[in-house]
Amino acid sequence: MMEAKVQEFLKTLQAAVSQLNLYPAHHPNSETALRRGWKATTELAAQDDDVVIGLKGYAFFLNGELLAYTSLTYANLYQDLSDREIEAITLAGETDRTDYANLVEFAAGHTDDLPGGGSIRLNESRLVDGDDDSAFADLRFSYSGVVGTLRTLDHRIAREGSFEMAPVMQAVEELIDQSLDASGAALLLSTVKSHDEYTFYHSVNTCLMAVATGQYLGLTQKDLIPIGAGAMLHDIGKVAVSPKTLNHPGRLDREQWKEITIHPQEGAQAIMAAGGPGHEVAATIALEHHARFDGLGYPRLGPDGHPHLASRLVAVSDVYDAVTTRRSYRRAETPHRALQILLQGAGGAFDPDIVRAFISMMGIFPPGSVLRLLSGELVVISHHQSDSPDLHGFLVRTAAGEDVEPEPVAVPEHQVGQQVLAESVGIEPAALLERAGVAEQVLASSLPKVDEGAIERSGVDEEALKDQAARSLSSIVDRD
């Protein structure tokens, strides 16, 4: 609950700083942002003791406790506050509105007078014992960096209609650098969901999974960069779609649907206009990520048109992440349901070879799966170990429903009772990576090697699978 309040505080602070950089302090937009921020601050400060938000090592801390998701989500704000040499924000009792306005002015760089002595004090109290020195910090920071890049990109395209490719490629390259050395952790990290900034997080998750798939297939970093850039930018054309249409909770009418279906070509053109090395692959991916393997989907690629192999690769990761994320118009599905959808679409919507590789890499229970064992405990699958048939993860809740400090477990498959939606049981799988000992163990894991013999024919009716896919898939994923 407290972490949610901190997130609201930081979100509104970020918004207020942005508004103040765009408008004068007395502009209605600035005043609205200040009012919202002050409200969030007041709610956070309504505790018996002072609330100290610490900043150290690219991470936020609340009264000395690492805030995993907050650090991931607000890396940009962290950077802004760090640039202003803010190391701690103390909320001391009931918050004064003027103090809040002073904080925003200082954070926005409009004044160099460090607020002190009031209800909001800067750098008075630390309460942070050490950095976030977990092995996973670098990957988390790269993730946040890419989200930040996308955010900037989005604003820039909306404002100027164009963007530059170089920062994108640099961010992707950094993320790939980090994820190649920690592919297991990258897959777990890709379960991070954001409902406010769905497209940004979805894009980075898609990027991480597409890169992992490429790595699994044997591609080198050089090959992966344009694919990663394409995955990251595949939905960039959505900037041209109104948020109202994007988040429309019901069936889309003809005009709304038309608006949605335009985003691939919109994105491809923006990337083409940006140019730069690798933009051809990235633009192709953006154009074709909704074009199906069988030639259907959108946009139609012509009578003999099939999506490029790189597009087919990214499409699988795209759908997997989209299906496992709750949207305003449909519920989230479990990872195994997402795999089923991919399998049903193999040969129809998706390239069967890519699906096969993807599932071989992800495993039957992909990292981030939350499983209820027959004995009642909840376990989060964190990684795979190629030398072990068991499922590797962390026990997070006892059969009695009690949350516990994550404890590594190796679960035989036959002990799995059911797979549950992480959000329905209040678990954030990627947050596990912030726990002591978890990151090290996951980082030590690696992607399994391609084993051609592992998947053999079994006589399942391929045509039935394809039929199902053709009929049922579109309503699930075409809008994403």
């Binding site: 890519i354 036959h414 399942v460």
Partner: protein, 658 residues
């Protein structure tokens, strides 16, 4: 099996309504809140006193032997979904309620394997109390499951071989795969309707199946064996599902006792496992039947689940959402996924070759770029975006020219200029884009024009730009004051004009003499006999500079035809023209020159040029020319003044030579 009689209702309309309902169900998490869903069910009210039966085929739906037209996406998807579930007959025996339709769709949405393993949709409908809809499924599994549970249990390894206690019999039923209906009937029947005993049997059976639920509880000897058998029977679903469904088939009083029992033990063993199966709405329905203590337990449980220290039952229960959200995810996921993974083994080739293929395709960036442009040119229909696309495409062409990749630039150019699929509007935008390209980047093309290696390719490229581009260059040339730039433009126009002469011809009639002269110069450099009829009228142009340029242009293009104009120009009023004509005639090697000069020598209209003609003939030095001069020089008596003048100049020329 024969088809039951169908009455009254229009089958097309009924199936359409069911299809619409399915479509809404697919789209909305809470379809029963959607007006379209309610309307669809309302349409089924025509069945309040009749029934209708549909036969489900591979890609068809029939009623009374007549195949129905499938006109909507929803009905098409529904028919397929029915087929996937191996439903042979779908019978609506009376008007279903909204909830019944929702329940029916819930079952259709379940994975077909899971549905069959759960006893089939028909059994589930019956168990769920949906009386208005009947289905008959094909398939061995559903036939097996239609047998009484005792028969199935007899086939199971899990048969304990004795009757055991009431609870152990229930536990065995569940482990043996009995449906919730069967279990509920058994519990209620054996307890003789006693709600307390019903609840007790239920709770005891649960603890037998899940021994951890009550640590230290005495177990029936047969249960561990049953449990073991269950865990190794991949097609049997988790017993907690059967317990959860059975719960709702018990009398309400028994339900409240069970709930009370489980809530009071919720922190022990696996009691929460059952509680977690219930959604808040389901629990809320039971609250009127709970005593105060159990109610408080329920609120405490809800607080625990939603992680809230405060809140009333009304606030908390709606937030309890474990069970229904994960309904689809129940069952042993591993088995289903594995089956499908194995199935996909046959769908494609080896993944090992993918990396190589990817690497090759990614590396071919030129090809990829061309493909991208081609696709976008065909796909993009919005005028403003198409213009932006053309700009981007032009930049690519310019970039390739700048990099010296003229062949690639030509390939890129042809993507649009040779596409048969471009609409006239798009084609105009392409032409305009190329004009802009020429306008902005002509220096780039000029650089290329000065590289002999690129000249031919540049000709092809600029030729491909089309007439509007040539027209633009001509206009630019007409106003350009800088000499160096004019030269550049002329160089480019020489290339462009070879395939698009009309813009150049249009400038032959310009008002400004220098514009006409430049156009003529370009035509001359391009060459070709087709220019002759267009150039010749300019020999009579009012400005002598145009005339000179025209003579220069014509001479190499049509040497013989030009002779006539050159000779005539010897008598031009402007001395510069005359000089030029002399020079050009001297340089000419046309066989027509001699005859033309001989004829001109005694032509009255050539009086002012007689001397030059004689000089030229003498310089020509051919026997005919020399003898012509000599003959006329020897003439003693001539009547015509023209001929006398000719004799005079011949004598002068010959005398000077002597």
């Amino acid at each position: 099996m024969t088809v039951p009689p169908t009455r009254a209702a229009d089958p097309v309309d009924v199936f359409d309504a069911i299809g619409i309902g399915w479509g809404v169900y697919e789209l909305y998490p809470n379809p029963i809140n959607q007006q379209a869903f309610l309307s669809a069910v309302e349409r089924l009210s025509v069945l309040h006193d009749s029934s209708i039966t549909f036969e489900v085929g591979a890609a068809s739906i029939s009623c009374g032997g007549e195949e129905l037209p499938i006109v909507r996406g929803g009905t098409e998807r529904l028919s397929l979904r029915l087929f996937v579930h191996e439903i042979e007959w779908l019978e609506i025996i009376t008007a279903p309620t909204v909830q019944e339709m929702k329940d029916f769709y819930d079952l259709l949405a379940v994975d077909e394997t899971e549905a069959r393993q759960g006893g089939g949709i028909g059994a589930a409908l019956e168990a769920g109390g949906v009386g208005s809809i009947l289905v008959t499924q094909r398939g061995l599994l559903s036939e097996v499951l239609e047998k009484p549970w005792e028969e199935r249990e007899g086939e199971s390894e899990a048969d304990a071989g004795d009757g055991g206690t009431r609870a152990s019999r229930v536990a065995r039923m569940i482990a043996g795969g009995a449906s919730a209906t069967e279990v509920a009937e058994s519990i209620v029947g054996e307890a003789g309707g006693d709600t307390s005993e019903i609840a007790e049997s239920f709770c005891d059976a649960f603890r037998m199946i899940y021994p951890d639920a009550e640590p230290g509880a005495a177990l029936d000897d047969s249960v561990p064996e049953l449990l073991n058998a269950y865990r190794h029977a991949p097609r049997t679903r988790p017993p907690v599902d059967t317990f959860a469904e059975t719960f709702f088939l018990l009398p309400v009083e028994s339900q409240s006792r069970v709930l009370s029992n489980f809530l009071s033990h919720r922190e022990e063993g696996l009691h929460s496992l059952l509680l977690d199966q219930f959604g808040g709405a389901e629990l809320a329905e039971l609250t009127p039947h709970l005593d105060a203590e159990t109610f408080e337990e329920l609120v405490a449980y809800a607080r625990h689940v939603v992680d809230s220290a405060t809140g009333t039952a009304d606030e908390l229960l709606p937030m309890v959402s474990a069970a229904r959200d994960v309904k689809l995810a129940r069952q042993s996921a591993a088995d289903r996924i594995r089956e499908m993974i194995e199935g996909i083994g046959g769908l494609g080739g080896a993944t090992g070759g993918l990396a190589g293929q990817l690497r090759t395709e990614i590396a071919a960036t030129d090809e990829l770029g061309r493909r991208l442009v081609r696709l976008l040119f065909n796909i993009e229909d919005r005028p403003d975006r198409f213009t932006r696309l053309v700009d981007s495409w032009c930049s690519r062409i310019s970039g390739e020219v700048r990099a010296g990749n003229l062949d690639e630039a030509i390939v890129l150019l042809r993507i649009a200029t040779e596409s048969a699929e471009l609409s006239p509007t798009k084609r105009r935008a392409v032409d305009q884009g190329l004009v802009e390209l020429v306008r902005n980047d002509y220096a780039v093309f000029n650089d290329a024009a000065h590289d002999p290696e690129h000249r031919e390719a540049l000709g092809v490229l600029l030729g491909g730009f089309g007439e509007p581009a040539a027209d633009h260059l001509m206009q630019r040339l007409s106003v350009e004051e800088d000499l160096a730039t004019r030269r550049v433009l002329i160089d480019l126009l020489v290339i462009v004009g070879s395939s698009h002469p009309d813009p150049i011809v249009r400038f032959f009639t310009a008002d400004e003499w220098y514009v006409v002269r430049n156009a003529v110069a370009i035509a001359g450099r391009i060459g070709g006999e087709h220019w002759v009829p267009r150039l010749r009228p300019l020999v009579d142009h009012s400005d002598h500079r145009v005339v000179i340029e025209t003579l220069r242009a014509l001479t190499p293009i049509a040497p013989d035809e030009a002779i006539r104009d050159l000779v005539a120009s010897l008598a031009h009023e402007n001395p510069r023209v005359r000089e030029s004509a002399v020079l050009l005639l001297r340089a000419s090697d046309s066989p027509a020159r001699e005859a033309a000069l001989i004829a001109a020598l005694t032509d009255r209209s050539m009086d002012p040029a007689r001397q030059e003609i004689a000089e030229l003939l003498h310089e020509l030095g051919t026997p005919t020319a020399v003898s012509t001069l000599a003959d006329i020089a020897k003439k003693p008596f001539l009547v015509s003044a023209t001929r006398r003048d000719a004799r005079r100049v011949a004598r002068v020329v010959l005398g000077r030579a002597a």
